[in-house]
Amino acid sequence: MSIKRPPAPGDDPKAARREPGRRGARSPLARFLVRRVLTALLLAVGITLVTFVLTNLVPGDPVAANLGQRALGDPAIVAQWRTEHGLDKPLPEQYLLHLRGVVQGDLGTSQQSHRPVLDDLADSVPATLELAGAAILISIVVGVAFGVVAALRRDRFSDHLLRVLSLFGISVPTFWLALTAFYVLFYRLRIAPGSGRIDPGLTPPPHVTGLYTLDAALAGQWDVFSSAVGHLVTPALVLALYTIGLLTRFTRSAVLEVLGQDHVRAGRAKGLPPRVILFRYVLRPALVPVITVAGLAFGSLLSGTVLVEAIFAWPGVGQYAYKSATTLDLPAVMGVGLVVGGVYLVINLIVDVLYGVIDPRVRLS
Protein backbone atom coordinates (compact mmCIF):
# COMPACT_ATOMS: atom_id res chain seq x y z
CA MET A 1 0.00 0.00 0.00
CA SER A 2 1.34 3.42 -0.83
CA ILE A 3 0.39 6.54 1.02
CA LYS A 4 1.27 9.46 -1.16
CA ARG A 5 1.56 12.39 1.16
CA PRO A 6 4.86 14.21 1.07
CA PRO A 7 5.17 16.89 3.75
CA ALA A 8 4.13 20.14 2.12
CA PRO A 9 6.12 23.36 2.36
CA GLY A 10 4.74 25.37 5.22
CA ASP A 11 4.11 22.30 7.31
CA ASP A 12 5.23 22.69 10.84
CA PRO A 13 7.76 20.05 11.88
CA LYS A 14 5.31 18.61 14.38
CA ALA A 15 2.82 17.87 11.62
CA ALA A 16 5.52 16.26 9.51
CA ARG A 17 6.54 14.00 12.36
CA ARG A 18 2.98 12.94 12.94
CA GLU A 19 2.05 9.53 11.72
CA PRO A 20 0.38 9.78 8.30
CA GLY A 21 -3.32 9.04 8.32
CA ARG A 22 -3.84 10.04 11.93
CA ARG A 23 -6.23 12.85 12.46
CA GLY A 24 -4.36 15.65 14.16
CA ALA A 25 -5.11 19.19 15.21
CA ARG A 26 -4.54 20.34 11.63
CA SER A 27 -6.36 18.25 9.08
CA PRO A 28 -5.12 18.04 5.48
CA LEU A 29 -7.89 20.45 4.50
CA ALA A 30 -6.75 23.03 7.04
CA ARG A 31 -3.16 22.81 5.83
CA PHE A 32 -4.36 23.09 2.25
CA LEU A 33 -6.26 26.24 3.23
CA VAL A 34 -3.28 27.83 4.97
CA ARG A 35 -1.12 27.23 1.91
CA ARG A 36 -3.68 28.79 -0.39
CA VAL A 37 -4.19 31.86 1.81
CA LEU A 38 -0.44 32.50 2.03
CA THR A 39 -0.18 32.35 -1.76
CA ALA A 40 -3.09 34.76 -2.02
CA LEU A 41 -1.36 37.27 0.28
CA LEU A 42 1.76 37.23 -1.88
CA LEU A 43 -0.38 37.78 -4.93
CA ALA A 44 -2.09 40.71 -3.20
CA VAL A 45 1.25 42.50 -2.85
CA GLY A 46 1.84 41.79 -6.53
CA ILE A 47 -1.47 43.37 -7.38
CA THR A 48 -0.58 46.61 -5.59
CA LEU A 49 2.67 46.77 -7.57
CA VAL A 50 0.99 46.12 -10.90
CA THR A 51 -1.83 48.61 -10.37
CA PHE A 52 0.68 51.22 -9.25
CA VAL A 53 3.03 50.75 -12.17
CA LEU A 54 0.27 50.54 -14.77
CA THR A 55 -1.46 53.63 -13.44
CA ASN A 56 1.79 55.58 -13.61
CA LEU A 57 2.51 54.38 -17.12
CA VAL A 58 -0.74 55.83 -18.41
CA PRO A 59 0.01 58.58 -20.91
CA GLY A 60 -1.59 61.78 -19.74
CA ASP A 61 -0.82 64.30 -17.09
CA PRO A 62 -3.03 64.22 -14.00
CA VAL A 63 -2.06 67.83 -13.41
CA ALA A 64 -3.55 68.86 -16.72
CA ALA A 65 -6.64 66.80 -16.03
CA ASN A 66 -7.25 68.31 -12.62
CA LEU A 67 -6.17 71.93 -12.75
CA GLY A 68 -7.89 74.55 -14.85
CA GLN A 69 -6.31 76.32 -17.80
CA ARG A 70 -5.24 79.35 -15.77
CA ALA A 71 -3.79 77.39 -12.86
CA LEU A 72 -1.73 75.35 -15.32
CA GLY A 73 -0.01 78.50 -16.44
CA ASP A 74 1.26 79.18 -12.94
CA PRO A 75 4.29 76.98 -12.15
CA ALA A 76 3.93 77.65 -8.43
CA ILE A 77 0.42 76.23 -8.33
CA VAL A 78 1.43 73.22 -10.45
CA ALA A 79 4.39 72.50 -8.17
CA GLN A 80 2.25 72.86 -5.07
CA TRP A 81 -0.37 70.48 -6.50
CA ARG A 82 2.33 67.93 -7.34
CA THR A 83 3.82 68.14 -3.85
CA GLU A 84 0.38 67.87 -2.31
CA HIS A 85 -0.26 64.62 -4.17
CA GLY A 86 3.26 63.23 -3.68
CA LEU A 87 4.02 63.34 -7.40
CA ASP A 88 7.37 65.12 -6.91
CA LYS A 89 8.99 62.08 -5.28
CA PRO A 90 10.75 59.29 -7.24
CA LEU A 91 8.50 56.38 -8.30
CA PRO A 92 9.84 53.68 -5.94
CA GLU A 93 9.28 56.01 -3.02
CA GLN A 94 5.81 56.83 -4.28
CA TYR A 95 5.10 53.10 -4.43
CA LEU A 96 6.29 52.50 -0.87
CA LEU A 97 4.20 55.41 0.36
CA HIS A 98 1.25 53.96 -1.56
CA LEU A 99 1.85 50.50 -0.10
CA ARG A 100 2.05 51.92 3.44
CA GLY A 101 -1.20 53.75 2.81
CA VAL A 102 -2.90 50.59 1.55
CA VAL A 103 -1.85 48.66 4.63
CA GLN A 104 -3.19 51.44 6.84
CA GLY A 105 -6.43 51.57 4.86
CA ASP A 106 -5.56 54.88 3.24
CA LEU A 107 -5.99 54.77 -0.52
CA GLY A 108 -5.47 58.47 -0.97
CA THR A 109 -7.95 61.18 -1.82
CA SER A 110 -9.91 61.22 -5.03
CA GLN A 111 -9.01 64.27 -7.03
CA GLN A 112 -12.56 64.42 -8.37
CA SER A 113 -14.76 63.91 -5.35
CA HIS A 114 -12.20 65.26 -2.85
CA ARG A 115 -13.20 62.41 -0.54
CA PRO A 116 -11.00 59.52 0.59
CA VAL A 117 -10.99 56.87 -2.15
CA LEU A 118 -11.82 54.29 0.50
CA ASP A 119 -15.10 56.09 1.28
CA ASP A 120 -15.98 56.31 -2.39
CA LEU A 121 -15.31 52.59 -2.78
CA ALA A 122 -17.28 51.74 0.35
CA ASP A 123 -20.27 53.34 -1.36
CA SER A 124 -19.86 51.80 -4.79
CA VAL A 125 -18.37 48.33 -4.13
CA PRO A 126 -21.39 46.84 -2.33
CA ALA A 127 -23.65 47.96 -5.17
CA THR A 128 -21.50 46.11 -7.69
CA LEU A 129 -21.09 43.09 -5.44
CA GLU A 130 -24.85 42.87 -5.08
CA LEU A 131 -25.33 43.03 -8.83
CA ALA A 132 -22.47 40.70 -9.78
CA GLY A 133 -23.21 38.32 -6.90
CA ALA A 134 -26.85 38.01 -7.93
CA ALA A 135 -25.78 37.48 -11.53
CA ILE A 136 -23.25 34.74 -10.74
CA LEU A 137 -25.71 32.98 -8.41
CA ILE A 138 -28.38 32.98 -11.12
CA SER A 139 -25.80 31.79 -13.69
CA ILE A 140 -24.57 28.89 -11.59
CA VAL A 141 -28.00 27.65 -10.57
CA VAL A 142 -29.58 28.02 -14.00
CA GLY A 143 -26.48 27.14 -16.04
CA VAL A 144 -25.72 23.94 -14.13
CA ALA A 145 -29.37 22.86 -14.17
CA PHE A 146 -29.62 23.53 -17.91
CA GLY A 147 -26.34 21.71 -18.55
CA VAL A 148 -27.44 18.62 -16.62
CA VAL A 149 -30.79 18.52 -18.42
CA ALA A 150 -29.08 18.94 -21.81
CA ALA A 151 -26.63 16.12 -21.05
CA LEU A 152 -29.27 13.71 -19.76
CA ARG A 153 -31.57 14.51 -22.72
CA ARG A 154 -28.74 14.41 -25.21
CA ASP A 155 -29.78 14.90 -28.85
CA ARG A 156 -33.42 15.28 -27.93
CA PHE A 157 -35.56 18.37 -28.31
CA SER A 158 -34.69 19.93 -24.94
CA ASP A 159 -30.97 19.53 -25.67
CA HIS A 160 -31.30 21.31 -29.01
CA LEU A 161 -33.41 24.07 -27.47
CA LEU A 162 -30.88 24.65 -24.70
CA ARG A 163 -28.07 24.69 -27.25
CA VAL A 164 -29.76 27.51 -29.15
CA LEU A 165 -30.46 29.42 -25.93
CA SER A 166 -26.91 29.14 -24.66
CA LEU A 167 -25.45 30.15 -28.01
CA PHE A 168 -27.73 33.19 -27.94
CA GLY A 169 -26.50 34.04 -24.44
CA ILE A 170 -22.86 33.69 -25.40
CA SER A 171 -23.05 35.62 -28.66
CA VAL A 172 -25.30 38.58 -27.83
CA PRO A 173 -23.30 41.66 -26.72
CA THR A 174 -24.11 42.68 -23.16
CA PHE A 175 -24.57 46.39 -23.92
CA TRP A 176 -27.13 45.62 -26.65
CA LEU A 177 -28.98 43.25 -24.38
CA ALA A 178 -28.95 45.80 -21.56
CA LEU A 179 -30.31 48.57 -23.79
CA THR A 180 -32.95 46.32 -25.31
CA ALA A 181 -34.04 44.93 -21.96
CA PHE A 182 -34.28 48.41 -20.49
CA TYR A 183 -36.23 49.73 -23.46
CA VAL A 184 -38.63 46.81 -23.75
CA LEU A 185 -39.19 45.86 -20.11
CA PHE A 186 -39.22 49.35 -18.60
CA TYR A 187 -40.07 51.82 -21.33
CA ARG A 188 -42.50 49.75 -23.43
CA LEU A 189 -44.01 47.05 -21.23
CA ARG A 190 -43.51 48.83 -17.91
CA ILE A 191 -43.06 45.50 -16.08
CA ALA A 192 -39.57 46.31 -14.80
CA PRO A 193 -38.79 49.23 -12.52
CA GLY A 194 -36.53 51.97 -13.87
CA SER A 195 -32.91 52.71 -13.16
CA GLY A 196 -31.12 52.85 -9.81
CA ARG A 197 -31.10 50.44 -6.89
CA ILE A 198 -34.51 51.31 -5.37
CA ASP A 199 -37.50 53.49 -6.17
CA PRO A 200 -36.56 57.17 -5.89
CA GLY A 201 -39.29 57.72 -3.29
CA LEU A 202 -37.77 55.26 -0.82
CA THR A 203 -34.88 55.82 1.57
CA PRO A 204 -32.08 53.23 1.42
CA PRO A 205 -32.13 50.71 4.29
CA PRO A 206 -29.80 51.26 7.28
CA HIS A 207 -26.24 50.40 6.25
CA VAL A 208 -25.07 47.01 7.50
CA THR A 209 -23.58 45.16 4.54
CA GLY A 210 -24.27 47.74 1.85
CA LEU A 211 -26.31 45.17 -0.07
CA TYR A 212 -29.75 46.79 -0.20
CA THR A 213 -31.65 43.50 -0.46
CA LEU A 214 -29.91 42.02 2.57
CA ASP A 215 -29.96 45.23 4.62
CA ALA A 216 -33.67 45.77 3.95
CA ALA A 217 -34.46 42.19 4.93
CA LEU A 218 -32.38 42.55 8.10
CA ALA A 219 -34.23 45.73 9.01
CA GLY A 220 -37.58 44.17 8.17
CA GLN A 221 -38.34 46.92 5.62
CA TRP A 222 -40.18 44.73 3.18
CA ASP A 223 -41.31 47.53 0.85
CA VAL A 224 -37.65 48.52 0.39
CA PHE A 225 -36.71 44.85 0.02
CA SER A 226 -39.17 44.17 -2.78
CA SER A 227 -38.17 47.38 -4.53
CA ALA A 228 -34.48 46.45 -4.27
CA VAL A 229 -35.12 42.94 -5.60
CA GLY A 230 -37.24 44.35 -8.43
CA HIS A 231 -34.49 46.76 -9.43
CA LEU A 232 -31.88 44.02 -9.20
CA VAL A 233 -33.58 41.37 -11.33
CA THR A 234 -33.32 42.88 -14.82
CA PRO A 235 -29.66 44.04 -14.74
CA ALA A 236 -28.62 40.82 -13.00
CA LEU A 237 -30.35 38.69 -15.64
CA VAL A 238 -28.82 40.76 -18.43
CA LEU A 239 -25.42 40.29 -16.88
CA ALA A 240 -26.03 36.59 -16.21
CA LEU A 241 -27.15 35.60 -19.69
CA TYR A 242 -23.63 35.22 -21.04
CA THR A 243 -22.42 33.14 -18.08
CA ILE A 244 -25.60 31.04 -18.16
CA GLY A 245 -24.82 30.14 -21.76
CA LEU A 246 -21.22 29.41 -20.95
CA LEU A 247 -21.98 27.27 -17.90
CA THR A 248 -24.72 25.37 -19.71
CA ARG A 249 -22.25 24.32 -22.40
CA PHE A 250 -19.51 23.41 -19.96
CA THR A 251 -21.77 21.54 -17.58
CA ARG A 252 -23.26 19.57 -20.46
CA SER A 253 -19.90 18.38 -21.72
CA ALA A 254 -18.57 17.71 -18.21
CA VAL A 255 -21.63 15.63 -17.30
CA LEU A 256 -21.45 13.69 -20.56
CA GLU A 257 -17.81 12.91 -19.91
CA VAL A 258 -18.46 11.67 -16.38
CA LEU A 259 -21.51 9.66 -17.48
CA GLY A 260 -19.20 7.52 -19.61
CA GLN A 261 -16.78 6.81 -16.76
CA ASP A 262 -16.41 3.44 -15.09
CA HIS A 263 -17.28 4.50 -11.58
CA VAL A 264 -20.75 5.56 -12.72
CA ARG A 265 -21.41 2.10 -14.15
CA ALA A 266 -19.99 0.59 -10.97
CA GLY A 267 -22.35 2.80 -8.94
CA ARG A 268 -25.28 1.54 -10.98
CA ALA A 269 -24.08 -2.02 -10.46
CA LYS A 270 -24.35 -1.37 -6.73
CA GLY A 271 -28.07 -0.73 -7.18
CA LEU A 272 -27.95 2.81 -5.81
CA PRO A 273 -31.03 4.96 -6.42
CA PRO A 274 -30.85 7.08 -9.63
CA ARG A 275 -30.87 10.27 -7.53
CA VAL A 276 -27.69 9.20 -5.72
CA ILE A 277 -26.04 8.25 -9.01
CA LEU A 278 -26.87 11.65 -10.47
CA PHE A 279 -25.71 13.82 -7.59
CA ARG A 280 -22.94 11.81 -5.95
CA TYR A 281 -21.51 9.89 -8.90
CA VAL A 282 -22.09 12.20 -11.86
CA LEU A 283 -22.55 15.77 -10.71
CA ARG A 284 -19.84 15.89 -8.06
CA PRO A 285 -16.96 14.96 -10.37
CA ALA A 286 -18.47 17.07 -13.16
CA LEU A 287 -18.47 20.16 -10.94
CA VAL A 288 -14.68 20.44 -10.90
CA PRO A 289 -14.33 21.84 -14.44
CA VAL A 290 -17.58 23.77 -14.01
CA ILE A 291 -16.23 25.60 -10.95
CA THR A 292 -13.13 26.63 -12.88
CA VAL A 293 -15.25 28.12 -15.62
CA ALA A 294 -17.57 29.79 -13.11
CA GLY A 295 -14.55 31.49 -11.49
CA LEU A 296 -13.31 32.75 -14.85
CA ALA A 297 -16.83 33.78 -15.82
CA PHE A 298 -17.06 35.94 -12.74
CA GLY A 299 -14.19 37.97 -14.17
CA SER A 300 -15.95 38.62 -17.44
CA LEU A 301 -19.05 39.40 -15.45
CA LEU A 302 -17.21 42.13 -13.52
CA SER A 303 -16.08 43.79 -16.72
CA GLY A 304 -19.64 43.52 -17.99
CA THR A 305 -20.85 45.54 -15.02
CA VAL A 306 -19.25 48.73 -16.39
CA LEU A 307 -21.71 48.79 -19.29
CA VAL A 308 -24.69 47.42 -17.43
CA GLU A 309 -24.19 49.88 -14.57
CA ALA A 310 -24.01 52.76 -17.01
CA ILE A 311 -27.24 51.75 -18.75
CA PHE A 312 -29.21 50.97 -15.58
CA ALA A 313 -27.68 53.94 -13.66
CA TRP A 314 -26.44 51.52 -11.04
CA PRO A 315 -24.08 53.41 -8.71
CA GLY A 316 -21.34 50.77 -8.63
CA VAL A 317 -17.61 50.39 -9.14
CA GLY A 318 -18.02 50.21 -12.90
CA GLN A 319 -19.42 53.74 -13.08
CA TYR A 320 -16.82 54.99 -10.59
CA ALA A 321 -13.99 53.40 -12.56
CA TYR A 322 -15.22 54.95 -15.79
CA LYS A 323 -15.46 58.43 -14.26
CA SER A 324 -12.04 58.12 -12.59
CA ALA A 325 -10.31 56.84 -15.71
CA THR A 326 -11.65 59.59 -17.95
CA THR A 327 -10.52 62.29 -15.53
CA LEU A 328 -7.14 60.62 -14.78
CA ASP A 329 -8.05 60.51 -11.10
CA LEU A 330 -5.07 58.28 -10.32
CA PRO A 331 -5.73 57.44 -6.64
CA ALA A 332 -9.27 56.43 -7.56
CA VAL A 333 -8.08 54.35 -10.51
CA MET A 334 -5.56 52.58 -8.31
CA GLY A 335 -8.22 52.01 -5.70
CA VAL A 336 -10.52 50.41 -8.26
CA GLY A 337 -7.66 48.29 -9.60
CA LEU A 338 -6.91 47.12 -6.11
CA VAL A 339 -10.53 46.21 -5.41
CA VAL A 340 -11.01 44.37 -8.69
CA GLY A 341 -7.71 42.52 -8.18
CA GLY A 342 -8.76 41.68 -4.64
CA VAL A 343 -12.09 40.32 -5.86
CA TYR A 344 -10.27 38.11 -8.36
CA LEU A 345 -8.01 36.86 -5.57
CA VAL A 346 -10.96 36.00 -3.37
CA ILE A 347 -12.74 34.24 -6.24
CA ASN A 348 -9.60 32.25 -7.03
CA LEU A 349 -9.24 31.34 -3.40
CA ILE A 350 -12.85 30.19 -3.25
CA VAL A 351 -12.37 28.12 -6.42
CA ASP A 352 -9.20 26.54 -5.00
CA VAL A 353 -10.88 25.72 -1.72
CA LEU A 354 -13.87 24.23 -3.51
CA TYR A 355 -11.51 22.01 -5.52
CA GLY A 356 -10.06 20.78 -2.26
CA VAL A 357 -13.49 20.19 -0.74
CA ILE A 358 -14.85 18.35 -3.78
CA ASP A 359 -11.79 16.35 -4.75
CA PRO A 360 -9.71 14.74 -1.98
CA ARG A 361 -6.88 14.13 -4.44
CA VAL A 362 -6.26 17.89 -4.52
CA ARG A 363 -5.99 18.40 -0.78
CA LEU A 364 -4.14 15.16 -0.04
CA SER A 365 -1.41 15.44 -2.64
Binding site: M1, S2, I3, K4, R5, G21, Q261, D262, H263, R265, A266, G267, R268, A269, K270, G271, L272, P273, V276, R280, Y281, R284, P285, I358, D359, P360, R361, L364
Partner: protein, 256 residues
Protein backbone atom coordinates in the same frame (compact mmCIF):
# COMPACT_ATOMS: atom_id res chain seq x y z
CA UNK B 1 -29.02 -20.30 -6.02
CA UNK B 2 -28.43 -20.73 -9.70
CA UNK B 3 -28.33 -18.09 -12.34
CA UNK B 4 -29.40 -19.40 -15.72
CA UNK B 5 -28.98 -17.51 -18.95
CA UNK B 6 -30.86 -18.93 -21.89
CA UNK B 7 -31.01 -17.80 -25.48
CA UNK B 8 -29.74 -14.32 -24.58
CA UNK B 9 -29.70 -12.05 -27.59
CA UNK B 10 -28.48 -8.45 -27.60
CA UNK B 11 -28.68 -6.06 -30.52
CA UNK B 12 -26.89 -2.73 -30.44
CA UNK B 13 -27.20 -0.23 -33.26
CA UNK B 14 -28.56 -2.84 -35.67
CA UNK B 15 -25.69 -5.26 -34.95
CA UNK B 16 -26.30 -8.55 -33.20
CA UNK B 17 -23.74 -8.69 -30.41
CA UNK B 18 -25.06 -11.74 -28.57
CA UNK B 19 -26.73 -14.37 -30.74
CA UNK B 20 -28.29 -16.72 -28.21
CA UNK B 21 -26.05 -17.26 -25.19
CA UNK B 22 -26.73 -20.13 -22.79
CA UNK B 23 -24.92 -20.34 -19.45
CA UNK B 24 -25.61 -21.70 -16.01
CA UNK B 25 -23.89 -20.55 -12.81
CA UNK B 26 -24.14 -22.71 -9.72
CA UNK B 27 -23.53 -21.79 -6.11
CA UNK B 28 -20.03 -22.54 -4.89
CA UNK B 29 -18.63 -22.77 -8.41
CA UNK B 30 -16.46 -20.50 -10.48
CA UNK B 31 -17.65 -20.44 -14.05
CA UNK B 32 -15.00 -19.17 -16.43
CA UNK B 33 -16.10 -17.38 -19.58
CA UNK B 34 -13.33 -17.18 -22.18
CA UNK B 35 -13.05 -15.80 -25.68
CA UNK B 36 -11.25 -13.12 -27.62
CA UNK B 37 -12.08 -9.41 -27.45
CA UNK B 38 -15.41 -8.62 -29.05
CA UNK B 39 -16.77 -12.13 -28.58
CA UNK B 40 -19.46 -10.81 -26.19
CA UNK B 41 -18.10 -11.94 -22.80
CA UNK B 42 -18.40 -8.56 -21.12
CA UNK B 43 -21.78 -7.86 -22.72
CA UNK B 44 -23.09 -11.11 -21.24
CA UNK B 45 -21.99 -9.98 -17.77
CA UNK B 46 -23.46 -6.52 -18.19
CA UNK B 47 -26.74 -7.92 -19.50
CA UNK B 48 -27.26 -9.83 -16.24
CA UNK B 49 -27.21 -6.55 -14.30
CA UNK B 50 -29.15 -4.60 -16.92
CA UNK B 51 -26.14 -2.34 -17.49
CA UNK B 52 -25.98 -2.63 -21.27
CA UNK B 53 -25.17 0.55 -23.21
CA UNK B 54 -28.00 2.91 -24.06
CA UNK B 55 -30.15 1.70 -26.94
CA UNK B 56 -29.35 -2.02 -26.61
CA UNK B 57 -32.22 -4.44 -27.28
CA UNK B 58 -32.31 -7.62 -25.22
CA UNK B 59 -34.28 -10.85 -25.54
CA UNK B 60 -34.11 -14.28 -23.94
CA UNK B 61 -34.23 -15.20 -20.25
CA UNK B 62 -31.92 -14.58 -17.31
CA UNK B 63 -33.37 -16.35 -14.30
CA UNK B 64 -32.20 -15.95 -10.74
CA UNK B 65 -33.93 -18.75 -8.82
CA UNK B 66 -37.48 -18.40 -10.10
CA UNK B 67 -37.34 -14.78 -11.21
CA UNK B 68 -36.59 -13.50 -14.71
CA UNK B 69 -34.24 -10.51 -14.42
CA UNK B 70 -35.09 -9.34 -17.93
CA UNK B 71 -38.79 -9.08 -17.06
CA UNK B 72 -38.20 -6.90 -14.00
CA UNK B 73 -39.06 -3.22 -13.69
CA UNK B 74 -36.08 -0.88 -13.28
CA UNK B 75 -36.94 -0.56 -9.59
CA UNK B 76 -37.03 -4.31 -8.97
CA UNK B 77 -33.81 -4.75 -10.91
CA UNK B 78 -32.15 -2.02 -8.85
CA UNK B 79 -32.96 -3.99 -5.71
CA UNK B 80 -31.23 -7.07 -7.18
CA UNK B 81 -28.18 -5.12 -8.38
CA UNK B 82 -25.59 -4.83 -5.68
CA UNK B 83 -27.83 -6.97 -3.47
CA UNK B 84 -28.19 -10.50 -4.82
CA UNK B 85 -26.04 -9.99 -7.89
CA UNK B 86 -22.84 -7.97 -7.63
CA UNK B 87 -20.11 -7.09 -10.06
CA UNK B 88 -16.36 -6.48 -10.00
CA UNK B 89 -14.97 -4.47 -12.90
CA UNK B 90 -11.75 -4.67 -14.84
CA UNK B 91 -9.87 -1.60 -13.69
CA UNK B 92 -10.13 -0.69 -10.00
CA UNK B 93 -8.39 2.62 -10.73
CA UNK B 94 -11.50 3.83 -12.51
CA UNK B 95 -14.32 1.71 -11.12
CA UNK B 96 -14.01 3.09 -7.59
CA UNK B 97 -15.34 6.62 -7.07
CA UNK B 98 -12.20 8.78 -6.81
CA UNK B 99 -13.76 11.34 -4.49
CA UNK B 100 -15.45 9.13 -1.90
CA UNK B 101 -13.75 7.43 1.03
CA UNK B 102 -13.44 3.67 1.01
CA UNK B 103 -15.79 3.60 3.99
CA UNK B 104 -18.45 5.52 2.11
CA UNK B 105 -18.17 3.27 -0.95
CA UNK B 106 -18.44 0.17 1.18
CA UNK B 107 -21.41 1.35 3.20
CA UNK B 108 -23.64 3.39 0.88
CA UNK B 109 -25.29 0.42 -0.83
CA UNK B 110 -25.35 -1.60 2.41
CA UNK B 111 -27.32 1.13 4.07
CA UNK B 112 -29.64 1.32 1.06
CA UNK B 113 -30.21 -2.41 0.47
CA UNK B 114 -29.85 -3.81 3.98
CA UNK B 115 -31.19 -0.76 5.84
CA UNK B 116 -28.26 -0.72 8.25
CA UNK B 117 -27.49 2.34 10.34
CA UNK B 118 -24.18 4.14 10.08
CA UNK B 119 -22.46 2.28 12.88
CA UNK B 120 -23.56 -1.21 11.86
CA UNK B 121 -22.58 -0.52 8.27
CA UNK B 122 -19.15 0.75 9.34
CA UNK B 123 -18.48 -2.28 11.50
CA UNK B 124 -19.45 -4.58 8.67
CA UNK B 125 -17.29 -2.58 6.23
CA UNK B 126 -14.24 -3.09 8.46
CA UNK B 127 -15.02 -6.83 8.61
CA UNK B 128 -15.22 -6.96 4.83
CA UNK B 129 -11.85 -5.24 4.46
CA UNK B 130 -10.33 -7.80 6.80
CA UNK B 131 -11.97 -10.55 4.78
CA UNK B 132 -10.25 -9.34 1.60
CA UNK B 133 -7.03 -8.86 3.61
CA UNK B 134 -6.59 -5.10 3.64
CA UNK B 135 -4.17 -4.28 6.46
CA UNK B 136 -5.37 -1.69 8.96
CA UNK B 137 -9.02 -2.06 8.02
CA UNK B 138 -10.42 0.55 10.44
CA UNK B 139 -7.99 3.16 9.23
CA UNK B 140 -8.44 2.25 5.57
CA UNK B 141 -12.13 3.19 5.81
CA UNK B 142 -11.17 6.87 6.01
CA UNK B 143 -8.83 6.79 3.02
CA UNK B 144 -9.44 7.41 -0.66
CA UNK B 145 -8.82 5.03 -3.59
CA UNK B 146 -5.77 6.93 -4.86
CA UNK B 147 -3.98 6.16 -1.60
CA UNK B 148 -3.95 2.43 -2.38
CA UNK B 149 -2.05 0.33 -4.90
CA UNK B 150 -3.78 -1.40 -7.81
CA UNK B 151 -4.02 -4.80 -6.15
CA UNK B 152 -5.34 -3.28 -2.94
CA UNK B 153 -7.92 -1.31 -4.90
CA UNK B 154 -9.19 -4.46 -6.58
CA UNK B 155 -9.47 -6.14 -3.16
CA UNK B 156 -11.50 -3.14 -2.04
CA UNK B 157 -13.69 -3.38 -5.14
CA UNK B 158 -14.30 -7.04 -4.30
CA UNK B 159 -15.20 -6.07 -0.73
CA UNK B 160 -17.65 -3.50 -2.13
CA UNK B 161 -19.22 -6.21 -4.30
CA UNK B 162 -19.52 -8.59 -1.34
CA UNK B 163 -21.00 -5.99 1.01
CA UNK B 164 -24.65 -6.98 0.66
CA UNK B 165 -23.98 -10.75 0.72
CA UNK B 166 -24.67 -11.40 -2.95
CA UNK B 167 -25.40 -14.87 -4.24
CA UNK B 168 -23.96 -14.22 -7.67
CA UNK B 169 -20.72 -12.39 -8.40
CA UNK B 170 -19.80 -11.30 -11.90
CA UNK B 171 -16.09 -10.56 -12.22
CA UNK B 172 -15.25 -8.89 -15.52
CA UNK B 173 -11.52 -9.38 -16.21
CA UNK B 174 -10.71 -8.69 -12.55
CA UNK B 175 -6.97 -9.26 -12.97
CA UNK B 176 -6.31 -7.83 -16.43
CA UNK B 177 -5.40 -4.33 -15.23
CA UNK B 178 -3.15 -5.61 -12.45
CA UNK B 179 0.52 -6.50 -12.22
CA UNK B 180 1.21 -10.18 -12.84
CA UNK B 181 2.61 -10.46 -9.33
CA UNK B 182 -0.68 -9.51 -7.67
CA UNK B 183 -2.97 -11.37 -10.09
CA UNK B 184 -2.53 -14.71 -8.33
CA UNK B 185 -3.47 -13.16 -4.97
CA UNK B 186 -6.72 -11.76 -6.36
CA UNK B 187 -7.61 -15.09 -8.00
CA UNK B 188 -6.92 -17.04 -4.80
CA UNK B 189 -9.10 -14.53 -2.96
CA UNK B 190 -11.97 -14.97 -5.43
CA UNK B 191 -11.67 -18.75 -5.27
CA UNK B 192 -11.65 -18.72 -1.46
CA UNK B 193 -14.65 -16.40 -1.24
CA UNK B 194 -16.56 -18.56 -3.70
CA UNK B 195 -15.98 -21.61 -1.50
CA UNK B 196 -16.54 -19.90 1.85
CA UNK B 197 -19.63 -17.88 0.91
CA UNK B 198 -21.11 -20.40 -1.53
CA UNK B 199 -21.08 -17.77 -4.27
CA UNK B 200 -21.89 -18.43 -7.89
CA UNK B 201 -19.06 -16.66 -9.72
CA UNK B 202 -18.89 -15.74 -13.39
CA UNK B 203 -15.26 -15.06 -14.18
CA UNK B 204 -14.94 -13.27 -17.49
CA UNK B 205 -11.43 -13.40 -18.89
CA UNK B 206 -9.49 -13.68 -22.12
CA UNK B 207 -6.65 -15.30 -20.20
CA UNK B 208 -6.81 -19.10 -20.31
CA UNK B 209 -4.05 -19.24 -17.70
CA UNK B 210 -6.31 -17.44 -15.24
CA UNK B 211 -9.08 -19.79 -16.22
CA UNK B 212 -7.14 -22.94 -15.60
CA UNK B 213 -6.06 -21.66 -12.18
CA UNK B 214 -9.51 -21.19 -10.64
CA UNK B 215 -12.48 -22.19 -12.81
CA UNK B 216 -14.64 -25.25 -12.16
CA UNK B 217 -16.59 -24.93 -15.37
CA UNK B 218 -15.39 -23.26 -18.54
CA UNK B 219 -17.39 -21.78 -21.39
CA UNK B 220 -15.80 -20.49 -24.57
CA UNK B 221 -17.47 -17.72 -26.54
CA UNK B 222 -17.04 -16.69 -30.12
CA UNK B 223 -19.00 -14.15 -32.17
CA UNK B 224 -21.77 -13.85 -29.63
CA UNK B 225 -22.44 -17.52 -28.94
CA UNK B 226 -21.05 -20.08 -26.50
CA UNK B 227 -19.27 -22.67 -28.62
CA UNK B 228 -18.24 -25.05 -25.87
CA UNK B 229 -19.06 -25.61 -22.19
CA UNK B 230 -17.83 -28.20 -19.77
CA UNK B 231 -15.71 -28.98 -16.71
CA UNK B 232 -12.34 -27.23 -16.77
CA UNK B 233 -10.20 -30.32 -17.23
CA UNK B 234 -12.25 -31.53 -20.14
CA UNK B 235 -12.45 -28.24 -22.01
CA UNK B 236 -8.84 -27.25 -21.48
CA UNK B 237 -7.26 -30.69 -22.04
CA UNK B 238 -9.56 -32.20 -24.57
CA UNK B 239 -11.42 -29.41 -26.39
CA UNK B 240 -14.23 -30.55 -28.62
CA UNK B 241 -14.55 -27.36 -30.63
CA UNK B 242 -11.86 -26.35 -33.13
CA UNK B 243 -12.01 -22.75 -31.92
CA UNK B 244 -11.18 -23.77 -28.36
CA UNK B 245 -8.29 -25.81 -29.72
CA UNK B 246 -7.07 -22.79 -31.68
CA UNK B 247 -7.26 -20.63 -28.56
CA UNK B 248 -5.23 -23.15 -26.58
CA UNK B 249 -2.69 -23.53 -29.34
CA UNK B 250 -2.16 -19.78 -29.38
CA UNK B 251 -0.87 -19.86 -25.80
CA UNK B 252 2.89 -19.41 -25.75
CA UNK B 253 4.89 -22.32 -24.37
CA UNK B 254 1.92 -24.62 -23.88
CA UNK B 255 0.69 -27.52 -25.92
CA UNK B 256 -2.78 -28.98 -25.80
Amino acid sequence: MTLAISDLKVTLGGREILRGVDLELRAGQVHGLAGESGSGKTMTGLAVLGLLPHGARVSGRITLGERDLLAMTPRQLNAVRGGEVAMVFQDPATSLHPMLTIGRQLTEHMRHHMRLDRRQARARAADLLRQVRIPGAEEALGRYPHQFSGGMRQRIAIAVALACSPKVLIADEPTTALDVTVQAGILRLLRGLCDDLDLAVLLVTHDLGVMSAVADEVSVMRDGVVVETGPRAQVLRDPAHPYTRALLDSLPGETS
